[in-house]
């Protein structure tokens, strides 16, 4: 009884011809190098004994759409007739966070207009009972848009995220009886690793450095104010405010449409990004006021520190959707930890400095140890200074008490860590999931 319209992709029928991608591009007037729909191929290298699968994905118009939930600017809406999830280009900030939270890699940046864009389901056609362009152009009938029973489930397919977003897609997996037969001369060492380097990461430090700076500034300011609460030095309110404004400015300038930055707090009810913006504004405002006019020991000061702690939590939650390959949920670049360490340093709570410093040391090592060999080698040059600065800073404080030099060392270590973290961050995409899965297959391990 319960049914809805959904894409149905039968990977047994798909030959990876890319007609869906091209038809989408033509129907929606995209230039040749951009498309809302993408075909992700699993096992392009033909590792023997491993099936080859093409996963044609665009927006799946989820009923619990994380893009809509997490958009800070309320730019997403849903068509009441077709259930299509759509973006109001006039409201989008171009923050790109929807691309981070989507498990299917659907939202894309329209670089020309600085806003996010994605599959519209060819909504005008579908409203009139038609089918999306990708579906009408499929030469093998592998991609359909049709009524499916709610109970009908998507099968396991390499690269397809079994996300709890209630997507309007059903994928028919490779039939058990249709497997690729063994080949006469399997290679001694499969070359699957070569492919990982070809994935363009969604997050790169080159592009996201303003966010790295902003989040570090947030941790410093919160730590500074909290330390003052504990009896540490009193921050000059002008420096405090100016750093916050610069951090916020960098962050806003990083948006595709900076002039719409005012929309960022609109979705404070659901979006962690909105909460971050609201908490930051409140923290900076109250913190400055307290530092300028009121003794910090009173409730406004305490409230500012509580807001600061919540802010750090919100920042870490924003990044909760990302991951470091092989890394754990707790890691050394969490801003909450940075804030706490700095607060302890400034407040001269040596035991806490030792505790948080040691935890960061261990978390950092764990994160690096679990990472991909090639990336580890790339970051090897930075591991020594990162840990060295931390150890020297913490050691200096424990041995000789607080000194600006020790603080500077610790800050330098935190900067390296935060930068590395951005470099290592990855949004799991269909393509990266496919590579992980291929790497996990015994056939891909070689003999």
């Amino acid at each position: 009884m319960n049914s809805r319209h959904a894409f149905v992709l039968d990977v047994n029928k798909c030959t990876g011809c890319h007609a869906c991608e091209v038809a989408c591009r033509i129907a929606n007037g995209w230039p040749a190098n951009q498309s809302w729909r993408e075909v992700h191929t699993f096992n392009e290298l033909h590792v023997p004994g491993v099936e080859l699968v093409h996963l044609s994905l665009a927006c799946n118009h989820c009923h619990d759409a994380p893009c809509m939930e997490q958009c800070p600017a309320l730019a997403y809406y849903r068509d009441p007739v077709t259930n299509a999830v759509l973006i109001n280009a006039e409201a989008c900030l171009g923050c790109g966070y929807c691309a981070w939270v989507c498990p299917y890699g659907a939202p894309k940046l329209d670089a020309e207009n600085g806003v996010m864009t994605k599959c519209t389901l060819c909504n005008d056609k579908v409203r009139q009972g038609g089918r999306p362009a990708c579906v009408t152009s499929c030469p093998t009938g592998a991609l359909e848009w049709r009524e499916v029973a709610e109970a009908e489930l998507t099968q396991e397919v390499p690269g397809f995220a079994q996300a709890r977003t209630d997507p309007s897609i059903r994928v028919v997996g490779v039939r058990e009886e249709r497997r690729v037969p063994a080949q006469a001369t399997p290679p001694a060492q499969p070359p699957w690793r070569a492919l990982r380097d070809r994935i363009t990461p969604l997050i790169t430090l080159t592009h996201e450095w303003p966010l790295a700076v902003f989040t570090l500034v947030v941790a410093v300011l919160v730590g500074w104010l909290a330390a003052h609460q504990w009896g540490g030095p009193r921050p000059d309110w002008r420096v405090f405010l100016a750093s916050g404004v610069v951090g916020m400015g960098l962050s806003a300038a990083h948006l595709g449409r900076s002039r719409r930055a005012w929309r960022a707090p609109l979705h404070v009810g659901r979006s962690w990004l909105s909460r971050e913006v609201v908490l930051f504004s409140a923290f900076l405002g109250l913190g400055t006021a307290v530092l300028a006019w009121a003794p910090v020991a009173l409730w406004p000061g305490r409230l500012a520190v509580v807001l600061g702690a919540m802010l750090l939590l919100a920042v870490d939650r924003v990044y909760g959707v990302t991951r470091v390959r092989g890394g754990a949920a707790w890691h050394s670049a969490h801003v909450l930890g940075t804030g706490l360490l700095l607060a302890a340093v400034w407040a001269r709570v040596d035991l806490l400095v030792l505790l948080v410093g040691s935890l960061k040391f261990i978390f950092y090592l764990l994160r690096q140890a679990g990472r991909h060999r090639q990336n580890l080698a790339a970051s090897l040059g930075l591991t020594v200074p990162r840990l060295g600065f931390l150890a020297a800073g913490v050691g200096g404080i424990l041995a000789n008490g607080f000194s600006p030099a020790s603080l500077a060392l610790i800050l330098a270590g935190e900067m390296i860590d935060r930068g590395l973290y951005y470099h290592e961050l990855e949004i799991p995409t269909p393509a990266s999931r496919q590579l992980d899965e291929l790497a996990a297959r015994p056939q891909a391990q070689g003999s």
Binding site: N12, K13, T15, G16, C17, H18, A19, V22, A23, R25, I26, A27, P31, A32, N33, L45, H46, V47, P48, E51, L52, T136, S137, C138, P139, T140, G141, V174, R175, E177, R178, V180, P181, Q183, A184, T185, P186, P187, A188, Q189, P190, P191, A194, L195
Partner: protein, 681 residues
């Protein structure tokens, strides 16, 4: 917006029906047209690229004249035609009309293509080519064995219980066939693919056999040996319909299985598996492609393959058969391919069919009495697509004058003295058949010719007028410029078939006399009226063994005399992204296929220090190209593959490496008799 039903005239199995939407002389959208049962679902990438292709800024829209510095400048039609007329007169006067080469290839299908030769006959003659680059060895093998190049209608494949794709990568070259394959699989059919590469077609197959390139005949004989040994041949069918079976059976048993397996380098257990499938599952269809018939030994290979259908009784029934070429819609000429592409037994003295297209460069240079002085090229790109590019270039460079009719600046167009802008498929009405399904289809004119484009019919009329050749006969043979005249001309071609353009305008029409299931009556139009496993004509016409006894190709790593400096067999298959050298220049296609790559096995790559994405040089004694390495664990070790159809500007002219050699049957091009070495560039 007006919507038209049309069909795609490319040299492609599918020959799809399409709906096009036109607004203000602009192609807005292309969609599939379900009226053609074989291509009811969506268009391929090329079909989707037509809007870009029709309105591309790179399209040639005016006559162009080559300048002394090698660049091209726009000239008027009058200037172009005057110069061409002068050159034609001069060549005819000095050397005779046969000093002019008329070269046409498979760029577009259509009845109007025949007008060109009418012009040249009126002109007094010319020289043309014989043979074909693509498929004649298989056509002739089929004609010799079964008598006709026909097969069951495409949807009949769903009735097969066993489907064998032999040297055919339908997922790329005939994507609409895959719908019938998966439908057959859904009904329980088994799928086997035989190909040196692991292709998209083989992904859902039960069995993938990767023989040494060019040795498919040995594999077929090995399978036949097992079928006979196990008594899994259709004795009654053989008795009723097969000629030469005892001799065939004796030949099949001449060589031990293990030796055959060693030659084709397929494990015996895989051969046994294939034989067991073929011996026990009925009906079976062998869908044969073109790859394994592009060797010097491939006519015999193809005959051995067809024999497997014959001895298992897989002919004349639904779901069974030898699906190579279905020429049932070729109803306009008395003689079909491959015979139509052979040189005439008696030259008529007017048209000299004197150049083998497989050996184009060498034959052009060697021709005397008269030597070639002038070339007219239409619907073709021989400087990229014919074997031994260096010699072809040399032969074109040796001419006095070259005219190329083209839509884009291809390698051949760049070698021209004058380029005339060619029409595209939307700019002139025409009618054509297909070679996979059996429909006749109409493509109406839906766009006015772009810029100053003139269809070939108009170009030839204009030349005829200047040369005072436009008499009543030629006037009737070549339709006038307006669409009405073209339609009247086409109606005259259709009339003998009791068809009219009106019938075709309503949708694809099944060619008169075409059958859904062929050979159901058990009549095979061979000399004996039976399936000829032993063919006297093969011996008399082609000097071959009357039996399909396999031999090794001339250039093959398994031969004792193979050059150790070139140990890798280069395959140059077709890709889904182009039709030969067409479409590859379009942005929409380049997004998916930006540059030539060589597929190479990881072990072969490692032995040469080659890593994924490295620039590598593919070379042999004939030439070399530099491309990117694509490590592919699915290709047979010892084989490398680069898709054909790249332009010189892409650096992927694969035929710089191929030799100008003919196949053993019907003057095909043995592209794949091609040994190379690959080294880091």
């Amino acid at each position: 917006m007006p919507e038209f039903l049309t069909a795609c005239p490319r040299n492609c199995y599918s020959t799809c029906a399409m709906k096009v939407t036109v607004e203000d002389s602009h192609l807005m959208a292309l969609e599939p047209a379900p009226a053609n049962e074989a291509t009811a679902e969506g268009l391929c990438l090329k079909g989707l690229a037509y809007a870009e292709r029709a309105h591309s800024p790179d399209r040639i829209l005016h006559p162009l004249r080559r300048q002394p510095d090698g660049s091209f400048a726009r000239i008027t039609w009058d200037a172009a035609l005057d110069e061409i007329t002068g050159q034609l007169r001069r060549t005819r006067n000095e050397f005779g009309p046969q000093a002019i080469l008329h070269y046409a290839a498979s760029g577009t299908k259509g009845l109007l293509n025949q007008c060109s030769l009418d012009f040249w006959r009126h002109f007094g003659g010319c020289t043309t080519t014989y043979g074909d680059l693509c498929w004649p060895a298989g056509l002739e093998a089929t004609r010799l064995t079964l008598g006709a190049n026909i097969h069951n209608a495409p949807p009949d494949l769903v009735n097969a219980r066993l489907i064998i794709f032999w040297g055919k990568n339908a997922a790329e070259t005939n994507i609409h066939q895959m719908r019938f394959v998966t439908a057959a699989q859904d009904r329980g059919a088994q799928l086997v693919v035989i190909d040196p590469r692991r292709t998209q077609t083989s992904e859902r197959a039960e069995l993938l056999i990767q023989p040494r390139p060019g040795t498919d005949g040995y594999l077929a004989v090995a399978v036949a040996q097992l079928l006979i040994r196990k008594g899994q041949v259709a004795e009654e069918f053989i008795g009723d319909h097969v000629e030469g079976y005892p001799e065939f059976a004796a030949m099949v048993n001449e060589v031990p299985l293990i030796e055959l397996a060693r030659t084709c380098d397929v494990p015996v257990h895989a051969i046994e598996q294939l034989a067991a499938l073929l011996g026990t599952i009925k009906p079976a269809t062998i869908c044969a492609g073109f790859g394994m018939q592009r060797y010097t030994n491939s006519g015999q290979t193809m005959r051995a393959l067809i024999a497997l259908c014959a001895i298992t009784g897989n002919l004349g029934r639904p779901g069974a058969g030898w699906a190579y070429a279905n020429l049932q819609s070729h109803v306009f000429a008395e003689v079909r391919d491959p015979l139509a592409s052979l040189p005439p037994a008696k030259p008529d003295g007017v048209v000299r069919v004197g150049v083998s297209t497989a050996r184009l460069g060498r034959d052009m240079l060697a021709l005397q009495d008269p030597p070639l002085k002038f070339a007219w090229v239409e619907r073709g790109n021989p400087l990229a697509q014919n074997p031994d590019t260096h010699l072809v270039r040399e032969a074109f460079a040796a001419l006095d004058f070259r005219v190329v009719v083209e839509q884009f600046l291809t390698d051949t167009a760049r070698a021209a003295d004058i380029i005339l802008p060619a029409k595209n498929m939307f700019e002139q009405t025409d009618v054509f058949g297909a070679y996979w399904h059996h429909y006749l289809q109409l493509k109406p004119q839906v766009l006015p010719p772009a810029g100053e484009v003139k269809p070939e019919t108009e170009i030839f009329r204009a030349l005829a007028r200047r040369l005072d050749l436009l008499d009543a006969e030629l006037d009737a043979a070549i339709p006038g410029p307006d669409d009405e005249a073209v339609r009247a001309w086409l109606d005259r071609q259709l009339a003998p078939l009791n068809l009219s353009l009106e019938d075709l305008a309503a949708g694809p029409v099944i060619a008169p006399g075409a059958q859904e299931v062929v050979f159901a009556d058990g009549v095979y139009p061979t000399p004996s009226g039976r399936i000829e496993l032993r063919s006297e004509e093969a011996a008399a016409r082609w000097g071959l063994d009357p039996l399909p006894r396999p031999t090794l190709p001339v250039e093959c790593a398994a031969r004792a005399d193979a050059d150790p400096a070139t140990p890798l067999q280069l395959l140059t298959p077709n890709t889904k992204n182009r039709i030969h050298s067409q479409f590859g220049n379009l942005a929409l296609i380049r997004t998916h296929d930006p540059q030539p790559e060589v597929q190479i096995h990881p072990d072969d790559a490692r032995a040469r220090g080659i890593r994924f994405g490295d620039r590598v040089r593919i070379h042999n004694g004939r030439g070399g190209i530099t491309v990117l390495a694509r490590i592919d664990a699915g290709i047979r070790q010892g084989c490398v593959a680069v898709t054909n159809g790249w332009w010189g500007s892409d650096g992927g002219l694969v035929n710089k490496l191929s030799a100008g050699r003919e196949t053993d049957l019907a003057h095909g091009a043995a592209f794949h008799d091609n040994l190379v070495e690959v080294t880091r560039a």
